[in-house]
């Protein structure tokens, strides 16, 4: 197990390096010019100076290695500096956004909480809905509950999140006026009233994402439960005279959760991707919205770093899912 973990970690490093190179080369091959917004009246020599100031005149591999160095050495040092008050980085150049001239990591740190609250709570809610639905659907296979559940999960799976979001806005924000349609990120939670306000504005984005996740996870949960309900050990448990509740909720559920947990782990990075759209619908100023803004503004360092963070999430959670599978299921041993 330890060897396997180590090997996987070692494979993850070149994978991430190749991915970062792919993203970098894609950005490089693109004809977009970060100085495209600069007015034509600016003389060419000034433009050349601006280019040098942005570091754009260096060869691509120089800039790539510079980015790697800033990302993997200087940024962690800055992080340690801010956490412990040390001075490791000694003012070294960080990854700077073209657009706002701020360090990219500072902007990400500003926006991460919004994404995490919405995405995180949506995922938790989604899992909490999906697991019981999956259990009941499988236990009462082909009952009306199962048929309804299967249909709803098919719908939840098929209807794109931007349409669910917009439909919820029409119903609950425009017609009923229960919830605000725009997520107000300046809201500070200080007392009970502002907390209620925060909850109210979170309801719709969380519902959209949670429904979509619940649809996928409940399908997995159902089929995993069905696989286990037919096993011999279930008959043994029943023959021992255990109550139905113990059989289903202890014996079957625990075994059925093994593959579902890995699916849940694998879904985490996806939901960050899905949040790009939901954030756009509800105007949440999270990471996804920042990505779209930066793409439109040709802000190469920001786009590069954000996309790379998404890739890191995927690789990390793939690894976590595989390891969890090995830990939870004693039949699987990586040797």
């Amino acid at each position: 197990m330890f060897q396997y973990t180590l090997r996987r970690l070692l494979i993850a490093i070149p994978t991430l390096l190749i991915i970062s190179l792919v993203i970098f080369l894609l950005l490089e091959a693109a004809p977009g010019d970060p100085l495209g917004q600069v007015p034509l009246t600016v003389p060419p020599e000034v433009k050349a100076k601006m280019r040098t100031a942005l570091g754009l005149d260096a060869a691509w591999y120089v800039r790539y290695f510079l980015w790697l160095k800033q990302m993997f050495f200087i940024e962690p040092m800055h992080l340690i500096d801010t956490l412990f008050g040390t001075d490791l980085a000694q003012g070294a150049q960080r990854v700077i956004s073209f657009q706002s001239r701020q360090p990219v990591m500072d902007i990400i740190a500003e926006r991460l909480p919004q994404t995490l609250t919405v995405v995180g709570s949506a995922y938790v809610v989604g899992v909490l809905i999906a697991v019981p639905i999956g259990i009941i659907s499988a236990y009462r296979q082909y009952s009306w509950f199962d048929n309804l559940g299967t249909f709803i999960s098919m719908v939840g799976f098929s209807v794109p999140t931007f349409f669910t979001g917009v439909a919820l806005i029409i119903i609950f924000a425009v017609k009923l006026k229960w919830f605000p349609s725009v997520y107000d990120t300046t809201l500070q939670v200080t007392d009970w009233a502002s907390f209620k306000e925060q909850l109210r504005q979170m309801v719709m984005p969380v519902t959209v994402l949670a429904l979509y996740n619940a649809a996928q996870i409940s399908r997995f949960m159902r089929s995993s439960m069905l696989d286990n309900l037919g096993q011999d050990y279930v008959r043994t448990a029943r023959a021992k005279g255990l109550t139905e509740k113990v059989v289903v909720l202890v014996h079957v559920l625990r075994n059925s959760l093994i593959p579902v947990i890995t699916v849940i782990a694998l879904g985490v990075p996806q939901i960050f991707g899905g949040a790009i759209i939901t954030e756009q619908v509800f105007k949440v100023n999270g990471l996804g919205q920042q990505l779209i803004l930066s793409i439109h503004a040709n802000d190469l360092p920001m786009v590069m770093t954000l996309t790379f963070i998404f890739a890191t999430l995927i690789v990390t959670f793939n690894l976590i899912a595989d390891l969890l599978y090995g830990i939870l299921d004693p039949r699987i041993r990586y040797d």
Binding site: V155, P160, I170, I295, T307
Partner: protein
């Protein structure tokens, strides 16, 4: 008893068995009906309702449902029924073409990786690498970065179509490749392959005549589901404002254009949204039914 019936019954194509099994899946049948209706609506519809989707009539702006405009008009007085049909045509052709690209890429890579031992490790590494890419951000990147040069070279419509189809196809072949490789690995060990090899069948014919027909089922299922994903991806790109140009409607684009006036004219958002959802839902149900119908363990039971 069974022997006599099989003797009397004329030889039957296996696809009839598949169809018989498919018919028992109610959801799939309804899905197929809806999908065919939508297909007919967007192909034959424009002949019956021959109003140009780009015809601007400023005097008939923002109209509701009426006889002259069954689905109303938009902020420039363009007929929404005509726009929905034109949009559906683009959305579905993007979905179908992107799926075809993704499936052929995935099948090629899957078969090569499964059949040729030497290619297996590098090709599967490549697949894993693609699976680790953040797809939506990359799609957004590709579309924004390359739309200008491509639309200059191939015209605004052709360029963007090419770009979006290639981008979606190039980022969604991995699942197919994995499934196909697994199937090929299993089939490669079967006796008929050994028999074919022992009479000296060359690798090319081996793959085309013996392996490929036997992996058709999973390919067809993933092709069906691929249409659904491609349609959703295209409309998501359009929704983020990174799809087709404004005067070239797709369902996602229609939805995106209507969001600004959602307070006043909610129907304009709902209609394309329902069209997308209904298409994807029906395609997913067809895929579900097809999976059951193509599984010989379920079929004939």
């Amino acid at each position: 008893m069974t022997e006599t019936t099989t003797a009397i019954r004329p030889p039957r194509n296996q696809w009839w068995d598949v169809w018989d099994q498919f018919k028992t899946h109610k959801g799939a049948l309804v899905g197929l009906t809806i999908f065919i209706t939508i297909l007919l609506g967007i192909t034959i519809g424009p002949w019956l309702w021959d109003m140009a989707p780009t015809y601007v009539d400023l005097r008939a702006r923002n109209k509701g449902f009426s006889m002259a405009h069954p689905l109303g008009t938009d902020q420039l007085g363009r007929d929404l029924l005509a726009r929905m049909m034109a949009g559906g045509k683009v959305s579905l052709s993007v979905g179908l073409t992107a799926m075809a690209l993704a499936v052929s890429l995935g099948t090629t890579i899957g078969v090569l990786a499964g059949y040729f031992k030497k290619l297996e490790s590098p090709l599967m590494r490549l697949t894993d690498l693609f699976l680790a890419l953040p797809l939506l951000p990359l799609l957004l990147l590709m579309v924004t970065l390359f739309r200008e040069p491509l639309s200059q070279r191939f015209g605004p419509e052709g360029g963007i179509f090419l770009l979006i189809v290639t981008a979606i196809g190039a980022t969604s072949w991995m699942q197919t490749a994995r499934i196909v490789r697994g199937e090929v690995l299993a089939i490669k060990e079967r006796e008929f392959v050994l028999a074919a090899r022992s009479i000296g069948t060359p690798a090319r014919r081996m793959v085309l005549r013996h392996i490929l027909p036997n992996v058709m089922s999973p390919i067809m299922v993933s092709a069906t589901l691929g249409i659904a994903t491609a349609i959703i991806t295209e409309s998501a790109l359009s929704f983020l404002g990174l799809g087709f140009p404004p005067d070239f409607p797709t369902w996602g684009r229609l939805l995106f254009d209507a969001v600004d006036q959602i307070q006043l004219y909610p129907m304009r958002v709902v209609l394309p949204g329902i069209a997308i959802s209904l298409t994807v839902l029906s395609v997913n149900y067809i895929g579900d039914g097809l999976r059951d119908a193509l599984d010989p363990r379920i079929r004939g039971r």
